[in-house]
């Protein structure tokens, strides 16, 4: 019976008026919005997670400021992480290596051009260089790292080297920062984390001297020794720093984050954003559902006689109900399918534009089979649900009244 009804419904839909198909517009716009928004935010989440994975699970980042808001909060904080703090951290059990870095934005001069650049002050001693080379986040594609003791040597991140100025920066070039001439000694390979590709790396002491920065660090990066749990080590660092800085638990003027924790925070924030966007998209789905309901009510009125005929030739109330519910379910499903295709198209376009215009690899569409199947199922259910009441009305028609219509 189900299959027969389905065949009947499909035949009917294929021979239907344009008006009924226009009803789908409401459904597929909503569905396209849902598909593109979810796939983009899912893709963004994946990209962020993979960035943190590249950074490594054995990494802990200590920053001044209490909030877990990432690097942005460090500039707003009055609290400073000094070399004393760094030493405290280095003494914590399970810390293999800890390095303080300083960062700032500054005008960079290259030939006739001046561009704002993101300077990363990194120590150049041989131990730091050893870890930098092992970490894989500062890999050199061309040239070398600054030599220990060198003052005016710079290494360019991949994007900074290729995108910042109108001409590509190579190891033969010279740039000027705060009136001092730097030799470009290396260009990094494409790391893919966003941050590491956007920097200009110079010796930490030089940066502090040029910009008059005292004894402070923008962030301290810790590598946890193998066999130690990063979460436990992070807790120990917190404890030691609290004691050293004489602050109570819960009132820390610094933050200690493992990469896992940071992923969690970003995932939570993205989850809220995602819920909000889907909420907005659902409004159009409600409109679409009302559209289907309206079409189905019209169809019941238009086809009253047909319903009477079907009843006269032996259709039960259930058969009529099934036919109409299937019809609206199928309308929803087709709307959902068009919506999915449109949604994929939209999210892929956004991804393309983001990659080309913004140089961001964060906006990536992630289209999971679960999302597509879920949307299709939801669209079908929405159709069935909005078609139910019109269908029940059709099923309850008295055959003799329907025939007289």
């Amino acid at each position: 019976m189900l299959l027969d009804s389905l065949v009947y419904v499909v035949q009917h839909l294929l021979r239907r008026k344009l008006r009924s198909w226009l009803t789908l517009l409401g459904i597929f716009i909503g569905m396209a919005a849902v598909v593109s928004l979810i796939s983009l935010s899912q893709g963004m989440q994946n990209a962020i997670t993979s960035e943190f994975e590249k950074v490594g699970a054995d990494r802990i980042v200590v920053m001044p400021g209490g909030a877990i808001a990432g690097p942005m909060s460090s500039g707003l904080s009055v609290a400073k992480l000094t070399s004393e703090d760094l030493r405290v951290i280095q003494r914590v059990r399970g810390v293999e290596f800890a390095m303080g870095m300083v960062s700032t934005y500054a005008p960079i001069y290259f030939k006739d051009e001046m561009k704002e650049g993101y300077l990363f002050g990194v120590p150049t001693d041989s131990k730091t260089n050893y870890y930098i080379e092992r970490v894989g986040l500062f890999n050199i594609a061309d040239g070398r790292n600054p030599k220990p003791g060198s003052k005016y040597e710079a290494v360019f991140g991949y994007r900074t080297a290729h995108k910042l100025f109108s001409r590509n920066i190579t190891t033969k070039d010279k740039i000027t920062i705060e009136g001092k001439e730097f030799s470009v000694v290396g260009v990094q390979s494409l790391i893919g984390t966003g941050v590491h590709d956007q920097i200009i790396r110079i010796p930490k002491d030089t940066l502090k001297e040029l910009f008059g920065i005292g004894d402070e660090n923008s962030m301290i990066v810790v590598k946890v020794s193998s066999g130690s749990n990063p979460i436990n080590v992070a807790e120990d660092i917190k404890l030691q720093l609290r004691q050293f800085r004489n602050v109570k638990e819960g009132e820390e003027d610094f933050s200690v984050e493992t990469s896992q924790e940071m992923v969690k925070v970003f995932t939570q924030i993205l989850g809220v954003v995602q819920a909000l966007l889907v909420g907005v998209a659902s409004i159009s789905l409600v409109v679409g559902a009302v559209g289907i309901m309206n079409t189905m009510y019209t169809a019941v009125v238009e086809r009253t006689k047909e319903i009477g005929i079907m009843k006269a030739i032996g259709a039960t109330n259930r058969a009529i109900l099934l036919i109409f519910v299937l019809e609206s379910g199928l309308l929803g499903l087709v709307g959902g399918a068009i919506g999915v295709i449109l949604g994929i198209f939209i999210s892929k376009s956004v991804e393309l534009v983001a990659a080309q215009q913004l140089g961001s690899n964060l906006l990536k569409a992630y289209l999971s089979p679960g999302l597509i199947l879920g949307v299709l199922f939801f669209a079908f259910s929405l159709g069935v649900l909005s078609g139910f009441f019109p269908a029940r009305k059709a099923a309850k028609l008295q055959p003799v009244d329907a025939l007289r219509h």
Partner: protein
């Protein structure tokens, strides 16, 4: 079910409509027996209650009072689902306006009643094929109703009425919407079904010309049977 007893029996059947303040008595105490293999013509002017009567015989409507027996079974108090089953299995309808489903082809229209009875697709197809052959429409199977003439549509309707091998065929002004030549061929066909297939036929008409095909004529006037033709 015995083929000797009445196929249809109406016992003091009333149909009363309440239209606002006004009460309309469309059928007023009709008692009638239709025997197996009979060709009964129910005649009467429009508004006489003959169509209401036929709707009740066809299980499309229930009487306000009285009893209707179809093959000895009381249908007066059946649920809508039970009535649908009875309609599908026992009765074939032929309407004045043909009442084919406009979006379906002739073949699909003939197959439809069998779908409601859960008959497998292959069987439905072959039966619909042979029935359309029988009514001479083998070359029009894939045409939709609007591509067929009135006579052709009525022949599709006749084929459709026969699909579930019903014992009773109810025809409501079957020639009302076709020209006289086509009308004659349709009547000849109904007559053949009655004589050769032993189908019980109840035909509602106001045309005395058609009455001559019937084995018995019942006249309804003002919701009651006029006795002289009995």
């Amino acid at each position: 079910m015995s083929k000797e007893g009445p196929v249809i029996e109406l016992r003091d059947v009333w149909k009363i409509y309440q239209m606002g303040e006004v009460t309309v008595e469309a059928v007023r105490g009709i008692s009638l027996k239709v025997n197996h293999g009979e060709f009964l013509s129910v005649m009467g002017p429009s508004g006489s209650g003959k169509s209401t009567c036929m709707h009740m015989i066809g299980c499309l409507d229930l009487p306000t009072r009285g009893t209707i027996l179809l093959e000895g079974k009381d249908i007066s108090h059946m649920s809508e689902s039970e009535l649908a089953q009875v309609r599908g299995r026992t009765i074939g309808f032929i309407f004045q306006q043909f009442n084919l489903i406009p979006t379906l082809t002739a073949l699909e229209n003939v197959m439809l009643p069998m779908a409601f009875q859960g008959i497998p697709l292959n069987e439905r197809r072959s039966k619909a094929f042979s029935l359309l052959n029988l009514v001479g429409l083998s070359d029009r199977m894939y045409h939709r109703p609007k591509e067929l003439s009135g006579g052709q549509q009525q022949r599709v309707a006749i084929a459709r009425s026969l699909t579930n091998d019903p014992r009773v065929i109810l025809a409501d002004e079957p020639t009302g919407n076709v020209d006289s030549t086509t009308g004659k061929s349709i009547m000849d066909y109904l007559s053949k079904l009655n004589k050769e297939e032993k189908k019980t036929i109840v035909m509602v008409t106001h045309d005395p010309e058609l009455a001559k095909y019937a084995s018995r004529v019942v006249n309804i006037y003002d919701g009651k049977i006029k006795q002289k033709g009995d």
